[in-house]
Every structure is written in structure tokens, then in C-alpha cells.
Subunit: 211 residues, 2 copies
DNA sequence: ATCCCTATTGTCCTTCAGGACAATGTTTTT
DNA sequence: AAAAACATTGTCCTGAAGGACAATAGGGAT
């Protein structure tokens, strides 16, 4: 059971070293590295630090040489799109390069047992976005609105346009407190956490993903 | 550090007991259970065995009483949609009720440290679905992003996904104050009044108008 | 060398969002 | 008739958003 790091600097970050004191470091996926990588129960940590570095290329090279390799991509600037590119390409994990040692140990534990790892925030984003996508309803907006009472619908539509609670109260001739009550009810019914997500759903934008 | 199970049968499955020998079992989210659940570092295992059982209701009840509770849903018949419902509703984990003891220990380890857990197959499905969502940005979005500096773009994209300033600060390794500065700059450049309108633009939803 | 832009950060402040707990009255459903 | 759902509203509270005023430092353009 060993940990191999690939980072262009050839040096381990403090938390990497703290997590895996006996880890080996390589500057590239050299033949020497690939030989070491082919040993059983090896976790490979692939540093995506330099934006010009073709991490995807390195990942493919590693997986071609060692198909069952467990590769965790460590990104200096994690993004949802990059995470999916890496995971789709066969990485077993994706997390922040500056993750604490305890987190890295957790990641190692999960992936060496065959699991997949995404950081909490990326996973939460994925869950938030996908929760509305899994439904097979053709018209998501209509379906969402159907879940609301008439008054909730009125309030939700105005909120989705960007109006404040005060503005909606004036428009609908009710108090701000009533607006808040309906808004909160909409959050519960549509399973969204705030008015921004509500707005995205009702403007039919949650189906398109930002990278 | 304790493990509490809620299962209508009142009995632990073999692997549950094997994983957590000292676990306590409850047939429902009784006041007695809620008192035990409020202790620090408790992991709650909520069995979704009986299809008629309102697991979502139990989950909400638990989280209402103990907001920081770590709840893992154990489903006899896991499904993608149910997984997202549960995770969106605030569960920290979702896995098969018949998972091996070693897996359950892994789950416990991840969630008690604040992480989220989805089983490998569900996660893989999620990754597969989401990877297809990555697409070329519509022109309007590209135009808007072109008006921003690189850092503003980074911040704007995360804000448009619904992240809070604090979350963006953690993600990009900058302070919340810096995030606010970039956000405000984005508002000025794109001539929007708040992050909701920013989100609509960057999710390409402002082109479709609610009437 | 100087200026401008960008990035980052601090302190302080007001307003708003969202939620908790509570309540009354009307309409619809059982 | 009774129960449930819906609509409305109040008081109180915390946390977040957004902005004002201020500052330093690095890099690129002039």
C-alpha cells in the first residue's frame, strides 16, 4: 500500500507529506513511476497545479499503463466541469490540492477500497443540480408550478423575476410576512434552498450547467 | 461518538451490528431517540425499508430537532431519484441497506467529519449524467463573461451556481471580503442589481421571460 | 518613473432574506 | 360536522448580502 504523487515541482505540499510521510514524488509519469504505480493497492495523486499542464493527458497515460490504478486529481482551482472531465476520464477522486491531511487520508481510504471521491462542495453542487434533472418531466417549469398553490405561484413568479419581498408585498397587496411564508413554502415544495435556485427553476435555467 | 439506527422492525441487520456493535436501535424518531441524537458526533442511520414509510418526513423531523445531525439513509432499494431527494433534504449519506460492515464504517468516517456520502454506483451515474451537461456556453453567457476579469469570472460563476460568499471564499482560497469586491464589480460591469440577476444571465435564463 | 488596472483585504454599517414560534379566519376535503 | 389545507399576519432573531470608505502590492502600459 503506497502513495505516489505527481507534481511538476517535484515537491510535496506540507499537508501531503503530513498525510503520507512515506509517499514518493515524481515530476512526471516516467517509466520509473509507471513501474512503481503498477504495484497493488497504490493510490496515485495527480497534481493539477499549473493550468498549462495537460492533466487529462497524464491521467489517460497512467490509466492506459495501469488500468486499475486509483488516481486522485488534486486541483489548485477545483471546478465542477473539470471534476466531471477527470471523473469521466477514469479518475477515482477529485479534491482541492490544499485539502487538510485528515481529508487526504479519508480520500485514500475510500478510493483504495474501490470507492469514488468528490469533495463535499462539489458533491453538494452536483446533488443540487441533479436533484431537479432526474425527473423526467418534459416541462419542468409547469411541473414545478403545479406543485404550488395559487398564491404560492403568484409569489414565486415575482420572486423569480428578482423582486424583493417588500416589492412583492406591495404588488400583491399583502404583507411582507405573508410573502415570506409563501416563499418558504415554495422552497419546501420545490426542494430548493433559496430564492436563487427558485429563480433558476422557474426561469427554466437549471437544466443548463455553468462550468 | 455513537451510532443510532431507526428501523421499523426495531432490529439491527447483521452487518449493521457487525459494523457498530454498540449501536442503539429505535423503531421511530421518539423523544427518547431525539434526546440521544442531540449528543455530539452522533451518526443516525435511517432505514428506508418499508416503501410506505415516510422516510422524508422522518428525516425532516430529525433535522428540525437536531439541525446538525448526520443522517445516513439506508435504502433497501436505492434509486437515483430517491438518493437526490434525501440528499437535497439534508441527509449526509445514502447507501444500500445491505452494505457490508466495512462500507458502513467508511460511510461513518466520512459523514462524521462533515463529508457527504453516495455509493459508487450512484455517484458514477451522477457523474455520467452531469458530464453530458457540460456544453458550449451560449453566446450571451460568453459575452457576459468576456466583460469580466479572470478573477471576477471565477467568482461570478460560483455565485451564479448559488454558492454563498463564504463558500466561494473557501473554494477559491480568498477572503469573503475579496469575494464581495469581485461580486460588486461584476454587478457594475454586467449592469445587474444583485446576484439573482447575475445568476439568471450566466445560466442563460434571462432570455426566457416569465410572464 | 509614473500611472492605471487588477487583486486582495480590513472595518463598519444597513437592509434584506430566511426562519422560529405563534395565531386567526376561510375554504376545501373527508 | 370535523379535519385539513390554505391564506394571512405578528414578533423576534440570526446570518448573509451589499455597500462605503480605506488601504497595500504586483504587473503592464505609457
Amino acid at each position: 500500500m503506497q502513495n505516489l504523487f505527481i507534481t511538476s515541482s517535484g515537491k510535496l505540499l506540507a499537508d501531503w507529506e503530513k498525510a503520507f510521510a512515506a509517499a514518493q514524488v515524481y515530476a512526471a509519469a516516467s517509466p520509473e513511476f509507471l513501474k512503481a504505480a503498477s504495484k497493488a493497492k497504490t493510490v496515485i495523486w495527480l497534481h493539477a497545479g499549473n493550468p498549462k499542464h495537460d492533466v487529462g493527458g497524464s491521467l489517460r497515460q497512467i490509466l492506459q499503463a495501469v488500468p486499475q490504478a486509483r488516481v486522485v486529481v488534486l486541483s489548485n482551482m477545483p471546478s465542477q466541469q473539470h471534476a466531471f472531465e477527470m471523473m469521466s476520464a477514469g479518475a477515482s477522486g477529485y479534491c482541492h490540492a490544499y485539502s487538510a491531511a485528515a481529508v487526504l487520508k479519508e480520500v485514500r481510504s475510500v478510493v483504495q477500497h474501490g470507492g469514488l471521491w468528490l469533495g463535499r462542495e462539489l458533491l453538494q453542487q452536483l446533488i443540487n443540480v441533479s436533484a431537479t434533472l432526474v425527473s423526467n418531466q418534459p416541462d419542468q417549469v409547469a411541473d414545478a408550478l403545479d406543485k404550488l398553490t395559487a398564491r404560492e405561484r403568484d409569489v414565486a413568479i415575482e420572486a423569480a423575476k428578482g423582486l424583493s419581498n417588500k416589492e412583492i408585498a406591495r404588488l400583491l397587496n399583502i404583507t411582507e410576512r405573508t410573502v415570506k411564508a409563501h416563499i418558504s413554502a415554495c422552497f419546501e415544495r420545490l426542494k430548493v434552498k433559496d430564492r436563487l435556485q427558485l429563480a433558476l427553476i422557474l426561469n427554466d435555467k437549471s437544466s443548463r450547467q455553468i462550468n
